[in-house]
Amino acid sequence: MVPVSAYLILAAVLFGIGTIGVLITRNMIVLFMAIELMLNAANLALIAFSRAFNLVDGHVIVFLVLTIAAAEAAVGLALIVMVYRNRETINIDRFNVMKW
């Protein structure tokens, strides 16, 4: 049997990769993918705990998160399409008009 800690370490590593992805990428779509990675890292941690304690709560929350992630992806991608139509770029660093 694989210990819980192994799942958690995997989740932490995935979360870290996602975070670094968010921080270093300029491409909005890549940034979006990095966020998905972070969400799924969190899902993995939830399922690991759920199994370790033999409870279904974690599974329920994971389904919730998956649903919301799907909706969020739809809205987010739609936004990116609109942004591209307007500015012809999806470089996040170009969107800095809201400053001092």
């Binding site: 975070t19 968010v22 921080l23 270093i24 300029r26 996040i92 660093d93 969107f95 800095n96 008009v97 809201m98 400053k99 001092w100």
Partner: protein, 646 residues
């Protein structure tokens, strides 16, 4: 009973509202009708009130009409209430009667002024305030009227506000009066603190029980009240505003600065006589200030060339007489002189106004002369007023002034020979400066320029009729208060007796009667003052009519005295150096140093500090999403580290 009492002040207020709110929309005849009509109705109601009061038994002559509650807080209760008693009856009759005549006169005098509606609105407002003052049944309502008349005085002195000197004079009157009002208020506080009431009737009744007669507290309270009277009634040291107040239109000088408002101080003293009688020390101060003011102002009047200023100093001097009377506890004599003075001084001012009107607004007597034949009504009426004020026997001024002089000599309270001497000398000076005025104005050669000389005209009917009415009043007004030695009843004294008699006052009256002063003494003093007055008139005749060269040479020999008098003893200059200029410098310090540097500096400095700090910090708001995310991530890591390691 006398349910219409509240209408007496209210009617002029309505007149003020109509004329004031519809300013510039009413025709001149309509303005005059509203203004004069409202005062005329007040006058008729005052007469009715007088007769209603007279029908009562002397002890019952006290009608209070409570209109509504005003302030009610714990122990402090004040009503808006009017009190009709013999004293206020005399006052409302005088105020509305003289006021009505002056309103009518103003119709002619102000006929060509562009501020016609404004003028009558102010005048009606003044009548309202003055009637509130004399009818008030408590100190607070009296104070409302007191401030109201002060306001109207300010507005009317500065009526021709385009003229700098007029608006300055208005400010001076207002500011000088503040000093007196401050004292008056503190005096009222002391009375309320000790008596627990502000109603005149209650205070008069309770005062002998609450205060120790002659004690420090009552003396302080009375002196503070008197300070208010000094300001309002232009006594030393606060008289300086009254001569400058002559910048206002002449009917205003007649109504406010001669007949009514300036006598408010005398009225207030008479109203609170039950308090003053408990403080002989304060009364002595009143008597001395009154006497000294009478002499001082009369001496300045000797050397003034502006016809209205002579009359202004004369007013200050006559007010001094009234305070002298109050100071020797002869409040009745003071009120009597107040009434006769209202008649003859209003007449003098209106006559002077008629003269000024006739010769194209010239006020300097050096450019008058010979007007006797041109002004067939103004001259005789003004001459009657002059005879009255100088105290020629059997005219009203004679009776009232003589009573004051006699009381100053004989009263058991503070009566003294030196007070009589001051009053006596003042009577001589009065006769001299008044006849100087008459000779310079009406006799001799015509010293105005030819252009003016062609335009000399007698005033219209609306102006001459009030003059004639006032002349009649000046002659007969004194017969209500004939002296006892004539062997007749003094109606005026009988009438005011219920108001003037507290228990302590009764004792004073008896002491006065039993003072050991004989009728022979009174006759002697009376003849002495008449002789002095006649002598002074002859002197004026000699210097200004018969031998004008003598006047010039005397003036040269006594040039130092003349310069001092012409410059009014340099009192204005003294006040300027001692009070006004230090105040100006202190204000400059407060403005330039304290306000601009300290207060503004602190506030602006704080504001600048925050602005600079924010300026430095706001650049962290870069708009770079990745930057924000980095800070966010670092923050989360730090927090987790804190919880795990800490």
């Amino acid at each position: 009973m006398a349910d219409y009492l509240f209408l007496i002040p209210l009617l002029p207020l309505i007149g003020f509202l109509v004329n004031g709110l519809l300013i510039g929309r009413l025709s001149r005849p309509l303005i005059s009708l509203v203004a004069c009509g409202s005062v005329a109705l007040s006058f008729l109601l005052s007469i009715a009130a007088f007769f209603e009061l007279r029908a009562l038994a002397p002890e019952a002559r006290e009608i209070t009409q409570v209109l509504c509650g005003w302030i009610s807080a714990d122990l402090f209760h004040v009503n808006v209430a009017f009190l009709l008693d013999p004293l206020s009856a005399v006052m409302i009759l005088t105020v509305t009667g003289v006021g009505l005549l002056i309103h009518v006169y103003s119709v002619g005098y102000m006929a060509h002024d562009k501020g016609y509606g404004r003028y009558f609105a102010y005048l009606n407002l003044f009548m309202f305030a003055m009637l509130t003052l004399v009818l008030a049944d408590n100190f607070l309502l009296l104070f409302v009227g007191w401030e109201g008349v002060g306001l109207c005085s300010y507005l009317l002195i500065g009526f021709w506000y385009e003229k700098k000197s007029a608006s300055d004079a208005g400010n001076k009157a207002f500011i000088v009066n503040r000093i007196g009002d401050f004292g008056f208020l503190i005096g009222v506080f002391i009375i309320f603190w000790n008596v627990g009431s502000l109603d005149f009737v209650a205070v008069s009744r309770l005062a002998p029980e609450v205060f120790v007669a002659g004690g420090g507290l009552i003396t302080a309270a009375c002196l503070l009240l008197f300070l208010g009277a000094i300001g309002k009634s232009a006594q030393i040291p606060l008289y300086v505003w009254l001569p400058d107040a002559m910048e206002g239109p002449t009917p205003v000088s007649a109504l406010i600065h001669a007949a009514t408002m300036v006598t408010a101080g005398v009225y207030m003293l008479a109203r609170t006589n039950a308090l003053f009688i408990l403080a002989p020390g304060a009364l002595l101060v009143v008597a001395v200030i009154g006497a000294v003011t009478a002499l001082f102002a009369a001496s300045i009047g000797l050397a003034q060339n502006d016809i209205k200023r002579v009359l202004a100093y004369s007013t200050v001097s006559q007010l001094g007489y009234m305070f002298l009377a109050c100071g020797v506890a002869a409040f009745t004599a003071g009120i009597f002189h107040l009434m006769t003075h209202a008649f003859f001084k209003a007449l003098l001012f209106l006559g002077a106004g008629s003269v000024i009107h006739a010769i194209s607004s010239q006020q300097d007597m050096r450019f008058m002369g010979g007007l006797k034949k041109h002004l067939p009504i103004t001259f005789p009426t003004m001459f009657i007023a002059t005879l009255t004020i100088t105290g020629i026997p059997f005219l009203s001024g004679f009776f009232s002034k003589d009573e004051i002089l006699w009381k100053a000599f004989s009263s058991s309270v503070n009566g003294a020979w030196y007070l009589w001497v001051i009053g006596f000398v003042t009577a001589g000076l009065t006769a001299f400066y008044m006849f100087r005025l008459v000779y310079l104005t009406f006799y001799g050669e015509e010293r105005m320029d030819t252009e003016t000389r062609h335009h000399i005209h007698e005033s219209p009917k609306s102006m001459t009729v009030p003059l004639m009415v006032l002349a009649v009043l000046s002659i007969v007004g004194g017969y209500v208060g004939l002296p006892h030695i004539f062997g007749v009843t003094n109606f005026f004294e009988e009438w005011l007796h219920p108001v003037m008699s507290g228990p302590s006052h009764e004792a004073a009256r008896q002491a006065l009667a039993a003072g050991g002063h004989s009728a022979a003494m009174e006759w002697t003093l009376m003849f002495a003052s008449v002789a002095l007055v006649l002598g002074a008139i002859y002197l004026a005749y000699y210097f200004y009519r018969k031998n004008t060269a003598a006047a010039t040479s005397l003036a040269e020999r006594l040039s130092w005295a003349k310069t001092t008098l012409v410059n009014k003893y340099y009192v204005d200059e003294l006040y300027g150096a001692v009070v006004v200029r230090p105040t100006v410098y202190f204000s400059l310090f407060l403005w330039k140093i304290f306000d601009v540097i300290i207060i503004d500096g602190t506030l602006n400095g704080l504001a600048r500090l925050w602005r600079d700090v924010s300026d430095a910090l706001r650049h962290s708001q870069s708009g770079q999403l990745r930057g924000y995310a980095t800070i966010f991530a670092v923050g989360v890591v730090l927090m987790i580290a804190y919880f795990i390691l800490g």
